[in-house]
């Protein structure tokens, strides 16, 4: 087993609005190791997206202890969180969240543009490599509106992996896609995992969850099941994808 990349202990997240307290996450304990491929599942409103936001430093936990790459991450400044998100974490959203006024190339280059540790030619090379990895380099001058949903999500994946992050977080990456495109995106994620990438996806589809190594099931803000998926299920899924292809 690789060393832990993420370690959460007793994480709580409470939302307050108009004197109403909503416990989105309750006493979450979760460890994710480097190179792991994990699915967070559960019904709507169970807190899986909130958990992903806390994992990705898009949001802060109300209490608990969170360590990312062995570094305490609970009391980071906004600037530090931005820096970690930019360098260490890649995001894939359900609604793609590409910037419509930017070309495919500019969208992929966008997170790299905030990296001061890379030279311009290095940034270009990384963006090019990411686009090639998702098979979208031939559309680099197109704008999002000129692409299908599947293509847009592949561009979003390219943007997420361009900076070679330690952790890839995907929130319902197939939610806005038809079956064929959804499977293609999942195949892409599996391939990325095979290259050593740590991936955590949120999905409500048990088939896609089964295609990962480990499923964390949530209900009412709590983890109610955390189990390794049978290797056979992963293999079946991959075979299914290959057959479809």
């Amino acid at each position: 087993m690789n060393k832990p990349l993420i370690s959460m202990e007793s994480i709580n997240k409470v939302f307050y609005s108009d004197d109403v307290e909503t416990h989105a996450l309750s006493n979450i304990n979760l460890t994710i190791h480097e190179g792991e491929y994990l699915a967070i599942t559960g019904p709507s409103g169970c807190g899986k997206s909130t958990l992903l936001s806390v994992l990705g430093l898009l949001d802060t936990a109300s209490s608990g202890n969170y360590q990312l790459a062995s570094q305490p991450s609970m009391n980071l400044s906004t600037k530090q969180r931005s820096h970690i998100r930019n360098k260490e974490i890649g995001f894939i959203f359900q609604s793609f969240n590409l910037i419509s006024d930017m070309s495919v190339w500019e969208n992929v280059l966008l997170p790299l543009s905030y990296r001061s540790d890379l030279k311009n030619n290095e940034k270009d090379a990384l963006a090019k490599e990411a686009l090639e990895q998702v098979g979208m380099s031939h559309r680099m001058n197109h704008y999002p509106a000129q692409l299908s949903g599947g293509q847009q999500q592949r561009v979003a994946v390219a943007r997420a992996i361009a900076g070679k992050p330690s952790l890839l977080l995907a929130d319902e990456p197939t939610g806005n896609l038809d079956t064929k495109n959804a499977k293609a995106v999942m195949e892409l994620l599996s391939k990325l995992h095979n290259t050593g990438c740590t991936i955590c996806i949120v999905t409500h589809d048990p088939n896609y969850a089964a295609a990962t190594q480990r499923s964390v099931h949530m209900i009412d803000g709590q983890i109610v099941a955390d189990e390794q998926n049978p290797r056979a299920a992963v293999n079946d899924f991959m075979a299914d994808i290959e057959a479809t292809a």
């Binding site: 936001s53 931005s82 995001f91 500019e106």
Partner: protein
Amino acid sequence: MNILFDIRYALRNLAKAGSFSALTIAVMTIGLASSIYVLTIVKSLLFEPIYFPEGERVINIQRRVNNEWRSTLLHDYQKIREESKTLELTSAFDTETAVLADEFKSVRYSGVHVKGDYFAITGIDVALGRTLTKEDYIPGSLPVVILSHEIWQNHFGGDKDIIGRSIKINRKSTQVIGVTVAGVEHPAPNMLWQPLQQDANNIPFKKSPSIHFYARVKPGVAIDQAIKEIESIFSNSPELAPIPGQVITPRILPLKISYISGGITTFYIMLSAALFVLLLCCINVANLLLARANGRMKETAIRLALGAPRKKLISQMMWEAFIICSAGGLLAILLAGWGLDTTMAFFASNSNSGHFPKWAQMSLQADNILVAMLVIASTIVLTGFIPAIRASNCAFNEILKDGSKTSLGKKSGWVSKALVGLQISLSCTLMIVSGVQFIIIHQAINKGYGVSLENFISGRVNPHRDFYSKGEAQTAYFDRLLAEAQRIPGVEAATLISAVPMEWSTHRSIEPEGQGYDGNDLVRSNIVTAYPDALQTLGIGLLEGRLFDERDTSDSPEVVVVSDLLARMLWPNESAIGKRLRTYSDKKEKPKKWITVIGVVPQVVQNEMFDAEKTPNMYRPFAQNPRDAMAVVLKTLGDPALYKDDLEHAALKIDPNTPLYRANPFTVQAKQDRTFEEFVRTIFGLFALSALVMAATGIYGMMTNHVKRRTQEIGIKRALGIPDRAITRLMMHQSTLQLAAGTVIGVPLGYVLSQLFVQDLGAVTDLYQMMYFLVPAIIAAVVFTATMIPLLKVLQQSPASALRYE
């Protein structure tokens, strides 16, 4: 990606939103152009020194008697020159008609009689010959003159042997000793300079001539220090204040400021209004950018989620503001430069000389452009910073989760509402202030001068006292001139008067009989000398008593006709007829004789347009109060401009050495007279218009954005069966609240500020008060229209499409 990409991206976005960009750039251009234009005027006129050498140290010294500004006297000059330790250079000068006449032509110029360090202070240098020396100032020495380059060229054909040549000035042989370099303009172009040989030591104080007194403060000495010293000289010189109780103090101003001292308040009001316009523009553009940032919130959220540092995000978002303000600024600089050139051309075309004075030149030079750049930089920060800060503070995670373009949140909503409220307030204030100022000046211009100006022409003559001494010779000259003028075909009537309506005239303190004299707080009145039929000819009708006639001779009891304003001031609720008054001179220990009021006529504008209700007029018969210079007035049957040559010819026919000058129809003189007022009226008209445009565009932009942001909410309400009328009522209610909040501050502020100059200038009628109601009504119409148009668009959509709106 780097800064270049950010700029390219901002440019691409602005190009995509063409109408938004054009609108914001136009708004910024208006705001920046008006402020750069007025700032340049104010800086050029009030803060830049006169162009003389070491101009920042050159001052104008005038005298005040009991705190009232009076002409400086030669005795003041001589005393201060002798005793001052703080002044480096001092100079006295005065202007006088100088007629250059020979057997071929006779031309009237202005001659400057100078004393002291005039040439050193003004920096006037000679191209030929020499300037004045000590010997030239000795009374009885050979009369000498220095010609301006232009007179030398135009009058003497550039005669290279001019130095040493004897020419006739006012019939007196005078030797030309120098020719100035080209372009000399002090005190005006086309001058000639002679020594002022009068010496205060040889003249009794009561005959001390009025002079202009310039001085240059020593290096390292503050002007305040010089003022204190001169105050001390005045207070320790009782001989300069011969009337008991008189307090003489200096009025000392930097030279340029002294030229425009009457207009300083107007310039500051203009500057304030221009800064108001600029502030309004900034709020307008900030509002529009905020709305735009709101619309692009998802992009900001994505950038933040991808780890964009806040500082970088703000700088990226500022690029649009930078481009808008820079483009607006560039256009504004061009527009302001054009405006300044047009302004100078406007003043030049309306001046008697057709020339804009060198001392008042205004242009966008390097330092003014630097100021403009600073103003532009401030607008970039003002317009771009708030939207960028607000956007970079958004709850990006919620926005990304919603997957829709949500608003910036409640806080941003309040910022936006506050900006709209501020915009309504400022628009109200600016429109009221500018509108009231515009109406007051417009009415004063349209009110006229109290007499009809149509079909009148006048020109001035100044028969030299050496040849037409007061008494018979002078009267004979004027009588002959009048007779000659009356003979001009097409002339309905001709007369002589010392100052035609609208023209400057001398004024004196007036004491009514029986009310005691304490030397203070006497009414000052314009004193106009008139031929017997002058008032009838000019249409100044009689209200009471009689006008001048053949009874009013130099030997008969002295009489005066007063304006109704003077009558009211001196004898309120009484008839002025038969009452007596006398004039005071600050220089003489004893007042003049009592003069009996024989008639009352309406008050007409004599000096400044806005002075008519403050300084009354009185008229004296020429026989009892002769003047050296008079205006000959023709009432013509046709276009008065066609009589100009005949009038000039009539004067030359009587005496070729006394040419007519400043001959112009009254209407032309009036146009010249009100040039400044017309300029100020135009500026405030433009300010009011700018405020209206700002209000319309800004409020419309914000309201449209506000309604758009609530499109989904409106769709939900309609889907739930809430009638359109109820939705409309709700939106109008919210707009009314914003309108009320804005006008509650803006209208009272506008009222208070506008009352300042209503009280200062006076208003012809109460029409200006309509602005206090009209402006809120206009703003209300703008707010309601701006709410209804986008709302109707949303209501025309099906509820389903409104629900899908992102």
